[in-house]
């Protein structure tokens, strides 16, 4: 056990975490040059394409240290985006130390600090590492100063490297061995292993990723999940050496996987403790920091007959994404679907893409919403995250919405434009903090609903990518809320209803109407698209009808050809939703959703 080190790399997005992991893997000789591809731990297509890490990944790196001993360094990769801090939390619970990676040119950013706090909460050894020192724009001295003043860490403890160029890798590996403590725990004690991840393998069933804290587990053991007392017989245990590698046993301090014939995905709970059935431990290991979904949206299959497939896909997906929650939902416009909770908008996008790619389903999402709180006249309090459940306005005593504290880092030159954006987003109680020459930290208290509505993209665009952003949810505050409905030819399209602040109702409704106008093809008659609060119309657009479409000649030889054309159109029309006698293509729903996320 003294030759095991469990560690993570934590960093702000784009600070080079995946590249450093690549170097470690190459250094350990786990892959040869020929088989190597960049960001080797990011094995989801979507991670590679977006250049981000979404899922935690574990890999065991064999290392021969300068003290002459052989070590196993278990690297647990972590995501960098604000939405995925729950993944970071899960990874850190399995570690004794972290590398805190900081870009030499960009310096300390919002997620650097957020991740540092998570590591501190877990009492981990922290090794600051300055990356990208080869860059022309690198300012190592300034970053060392930030490590001292902004992070409160010992500036002399930091290492310098260029993961891209392979500079300083050996020094980091040595520091891991020397500075990160070996895992504690007793291999002879009753088994206590923490489930930190799980995924579904079509051939083997559920693959449980765990960190053993005490005891030993081997094939043939009967294990028990502490949360539901379910028992399973262990079929195989092993370690992660890029791919799964079977081994005899997993003992205290080790990280690895367990196959135990767990067929039902929902029986595995991330954060749960595994023990042995005949010799259980006293109590569960401390679970993870709990993350609550803050953004809600409904997912529907584009083809109604795909509903069952979607149900199965979400169940399997959920196994791999502990923060994702969902329940059944239905819409008059879009049919049977699921109401889902997400940690943020990026999380929502990732779920959408992964479900579509990994399960080959076409899905559509309703307009995202936060969870509102209403106090009714009879004194009862209800939470509403689905516009379909908006209470009768006459019964509402008071409406409240969740507020956040947004922390924004940026070069000073963008301050004016960012403040203007925050004011527009109903930001208040601003605080400005000069971090150093030319760099500022700005905090605002603002409604979460404003942040999920195109805030992030606009902030990034205003600061030309130099700004970074993080937020924490504060509390509920009173707000003038209204339910905006969208009507097509007088009929309500329930999937497009939104709960918004009174002041935003008109612009939001108008934007939705305009988007629909662009996407709904012209029909035989005039189509009115309206935004309404109750019976009050607050926005309106119309689609003028087409007047001429008939083909000029239609005789013996034209009939089949014409019919085939019409059949094709008819088929296309079948894939549309008909509301108020108007055929609405899926793209129209997506366009309205897009107006909420894109700019």
């Amino acid at each position: 056990m003294k030759n095991i080190r469990n560690f993570s790399i934590i960093a702000h997005i784009d600070h080079g975490k995946s590249t450093l992991a690549d170097r470690f893997i190459q250094h350990a000789g786990l892959v040869n040059e020929r088989n190597f591809k960049d960001q080797i731990l990011d094995n989801m297509d979507i991670e590679r394409e977006r250049g981000i890490t979404i899922k935690s990944q574990a890999v065991a790196l064999p290392y021969h240290a300068s003290d002459g001993e052989d070590y196993i360094l278990n690297l647990i990769d972590t995501p960098g985006h604000v939405d995925f801090s729950y993944e970071v939390s899960r990874s850190l619970a399995s570690c004794e130390g972290v590398l805190l990676l900081i870009d030499a040119a960009q310096g300390v950013q919002a997620q650097t600090i957020a991740n540092l706090y998570l590591a501190m909460e877990n009492n981990l050894e922290i090794i600051p590492v300055i990356n990208k020192i080869d860059l022309q724009t690198a300012d190592v001295e300034r970053v060392i100063e930030q490590i001292d003043t902004e992070l409160g860490l010992d500036p002399f403890s930091c290492l310098k490297c260029s993961a891209k160029e392979g500079i300083g890798i050996e020094e980091i590996l040595e520091a891991i061995v020397k500075r990160i403590p070996p895992p504690k725990g007793d291999p002879e004690a009753p088994l206590a292993a923490l489930i930190f991840d799980a995924h579904y393998d079509p051939f083997r069933g559920t693959v449980i990723h765990c960190r053993v804290f005490d005891g030993t587990v081997k094939s043939g053991d009967i294990i028990r999940f502490m949360s539901n007392q379910a028992t399973y017989k262990v079929e195989e245990v092993g370690r992660f050496l890029l791919s799964r590698q079977k081994c005899e046993k997993l003992s205290a301090g080790e990280v690895g996987y367990i196959f135990a014939g767990v067929k039902t995905v929902s029986d595995t709970h991330i954060g749960d403790t595994i023990t042995l059935d005949d010799r259980p431990c006293d109590k569960s290991l401390p679970g993870f920091k709990e993350f609550k979904p803050v953004v809600f949206s409904s997912i529907y299959p584009i083809a109604p007959e795909d509903y069952e497939d979607l149900a199965v896909a979400l169940e399997k997906y959920k196994l791999n994404d502990a923060a994702f929650v969902y329940q059944k939902d239905s819409s008059i416009a879009l049919g049977q679907g699921f109401r889902c909770g997400f940690l943020g908008l990026l999380h929502l996008e990732i779920v959408q893409e992964r479900v579509e790619r990994e399960y080959d389903l076409s899905i559509i999402l309703s307009v995202p919403s936060v969870r509102y709180r209403f106090t009714l006249k009879d004194g009862s309090i209800i939470f509403v995250d689905n516009p379909a459940h908006y209470p009768d306005p006459a019964s509402i005593e008071k409406g409240e919405e969740p507020y956040i504290r947004a922390t924004l880092f940026m070069p000073e030159r963008y301050l004016g434009a960012v403040m203007k954006l925050c004011m527009e987003k109903r930001g208040e109680d601003s605080k400005l903090n000069y971090l150093g020459p030319g760099r500022v930290e700005l905090t605002y208290v603002m409604p979460l609903a404003e942040v999920i509505y195109d805030f992030y993209d606009r902030f990034k665009s205003i600061t030309q990518g130099y700004g970074s952003f993080d937020y924490e949810v504060l509390d509920y505050r009173e707000s003038t809320l209204v339910l905006v409905d969208i009507l097509v030819n007088g009929e309500k399209v329930d999937a497009l209803s939104q709960i918004v602040h009174r002041d935003q109702a008109r612009p939001r409704a108008l934007r939705a109407c305009e988007r629909l106008k662009e996407e709904i093809p012209r029909q035989m008659f005039k189509v009115a698209i309206q935004g309404a609060i109750g019976s009050e119309i607050i926005a309106r657009t119309t689609i003028s009808p087409f007047r001429k479409d008939v083909t000029a000649k239609c005789y013996g030889g034209d009939i089949t050809r014409k019919r085939k054309l019409l059949e094709k159109q008819k088929k296309g029309k079948k894939r549309m939703k008909t509301i108020g006698l108007v055929s609405i293509p899926q793209s129209a729903f997506l366009a309205v959703l897009k107006s909420d996320t894109d700019n």
Binding site: F546, K548, D549, A552, G556, G557, R563, L566, K570
Partner: protein
Amino acid sequence: MDSRTPGLYIHIPFCLSKCHYCDFYSSTSISAIPDFLGALFKEIKMVGGRFNSFDTVYIGGGTPSLLSPRELENILASVRENFHLISDPEITIETNPADLNRSFLGSIRGSGINRINVGVQSFDENVLGFLGRRHSVKQAFSAVEASRKAGFDKVGLDLIYGVPDQDIDSWLNTLRQALVLSPEHISCYQLTLEPKTPLGRRYRAGELTVPGEKLQYQFFMKTSEFLEDAGYIHYEVSNFARKEEHASRHNQKYWDHSPFLGLGPSAHSFLWNRRWWNYRSIDRYLASINAGKLPVEETETLSMEQLRLEALYLGLRTKKGIFLRGFKNRYHYDLLTEKKKILGRLEEEGFISVEDGCLHPTKTGLAIADSLSLI
């Protein structure tokens, strides 16, 4: 059961020159005419039995007026020999004005052809040049006059509108000239740029601008108003008749799912729920017939749903519309009940009317008949 009498179509696949807009099948190798006729006579014999009697014959093309009166007479003789033509059949021929002289017209009238369609297309020399026609405006006038003198009392003119850069006034001028000839029948086709034609290629290359939808609609409505004011009946999207009896009996068969037999290359046939068509190639047509086989390239069997869709879009092209009880009996679908809501809305919008058990398109309805059929 459908008891309507079938119609016979004969395709003459030859032209002296190809018009720039036309995508009907034809060849300019007129030396192949004798071989073709030989094969056609064989086809008539081979097919006999499946169809026995017809009440219309339509000789189209191509340019049937390229044939000699003798050749046309032989075709009709062969038809009469192998099929039963019921009394007073409608026998139509499509012609090019350049081919029509007194003796030709007199002879074909004598062989029983009683309806003549003259491919005038326009009374504007510029338009004729643009379309690649091989006749002049003057020839069109004299062709119609000669037809009258030869005893044709059913003369039809084919016209084209919506030509690039044409405005409504210049089109109405063509219509005015047409009325001078008091034709019994006028077909007014909006120019369609078919992909495999010279005009289609020019359009794809961006050389031509065609009227937008709004202008197309104006052309359509103005044409209808103008000819109705002159006493014509707008009985199908593109067809006008001076009196009810002047409407094309033969073409009506296409629009009400009556059976028809097509002979010659590329000709289509329809019976009950089957449609088949001949090779769109003189060579393959000849080869097949000379090998003793019917020159059928493909056959399709239509499902009830396909028949229903066809009946809808074809029926809605015609003024008389769809007889609802007949539709229900033949296609097992009660339009009035199944589509109550949308039909109500379309009636409100003035696109259709339901009268005497029929679903009629209005004039604005005719203009969007294709979409109406997708309800």
